[in-house]
């Protein structure tokens, strides 16, 4: 990959191995990261497809920010893109995500379990 400053993905890319900086601010971020890597490794989508999907999300968020909307964090963008590609590739569906969100909304993530 060549350094290309016009690529929003690269502009916002985290320094994964830089100094003492923590890469993830919250545990869910590492899980969101790992899920995408795992799903791609399992063949649900290619990494190039993921990069395209994520870039699109980052581009939209950057544009929204420029227009004055509060910007989602890097991993919120990551998660939004992950949901989109999982729906597009049939890993989950819009309806299943809605059903899961319903339960999380009622009891919170800590109490959302495989009952």
């Amino acid at each position: 990959m060549t350094a290309n400053s016009s690529n929003p993905l690269l502009e916002k890319c985290l320094a994964l191995a830089e100094g003492e900086e923590p890469v993830f601010s919250h545990p869910w971020e590492s899980r969101a990261f790992a899920i995408v890597v795992q799903l791609s490794a399992a063949g649900h989508f290619t990494w190039a497809e993921w990069v395209a999907c994520f870039s699109e999300e980052v581009r939209a968020a950057t544009a929204a920010e420029a227009a004055g909307t509060a910007a989602p964090s890097y991993y919120e963008q990551w998660l939004a893109a992950a949901e989109k590609i999982m729906i597009a590739k049939g890993v989950t569906s819009r309806e299943q995500l809605a059903a899961k969100r319903f339960g999380i909304g009622v009891v919170g993530t800590a109490h959302q379990v495989a009952v």
Partner: protein, 334 residues
Amino acid sequence: MSASRPRVPVTILTGFLGAGKTTLLNGILPQQHGRRIAVIENEFGDAGIDNDLLVEARGEQIVEMNNGCICCTVRGDLVRILGELRDRRERRADAFDYVIIETTGLADPAPVAQTFFIDEDIARYYRLDAIVTVVDAVHAAAQLEQHHEAQEQVGFADRILISKTDLVNPQEIVSLSERLGRINARAPVAKVLFGVAAVDQIVDIDGFSLDSILEIEPGFLGEDAHEHDDAVASFVFRTERSFDAELLQDFLRKMVADHARDLMRYKGVVSFVGLDSRVVFQGVHMLMNSDIGRPWADGEVRRSILVFIGRHLPEEKFTAGLEQCLAGKPLPRG
């Protein structure tokens, strides 16, 4: 992920003192049922269980994982024993493929059940299949009056087995079954005969599965026939109108927060505006799971059904609140 091995199903066998849990197990375990069952026994009566895979749990060790949060109350003794059983099975894969936990007559089923959801190592290896409660036909009436634990064991059950039915007259069985149905509208009630009880009366019940159909017992009479004022009771909410997902989510969040201690089991199969499939959810106190269910067919009447089982639950407050969550209703003021 999907490649993970199937988890070991676990049945929790509860029942009041003397109801016949041990007798039932002793009748079932020696049968040629082709299943290898490990038994964790919590109570030592006169009749011990004869099983190669018997583990004795001495004393109940209730552990609070988190300050005062009821859902985080688990059984430390079970975590240890289930861990040891897992190690044994890892060494010898043919050791067992089912676990039955026989609790003491006075045990609260909640911490036992919650152990399977809260402890991550346990949850990864085991799957809580069902809570089966044995009720003694001879002594049930008195026990339900005198001991709140007896009502709670009935309220938590996925299946209720009435024992000693040959010792009372048929009319008593009918009225006991009706009473059990008012306490727990969703657990099928069956008679059990110690000599001929089959293993499938206590394993592979899928009580905690979101896929299982939510059926209300035909004997459930709801408002009618309040012969006994039992503290534990169920109520059912049915509608053919779809819910607004956000309103229902907010309402249930408030109900779970306000009544977590008293809300023992709840389950719903509901229609949401804008979704073409059923949404199913099921909870134990504050622990809950939700998922997508079967799609609604074209032109199908979208019948939602919710059942709540608990202690002194304010049914009218629930019903009025749920009505407000139906799409197209005006929002409640304030």
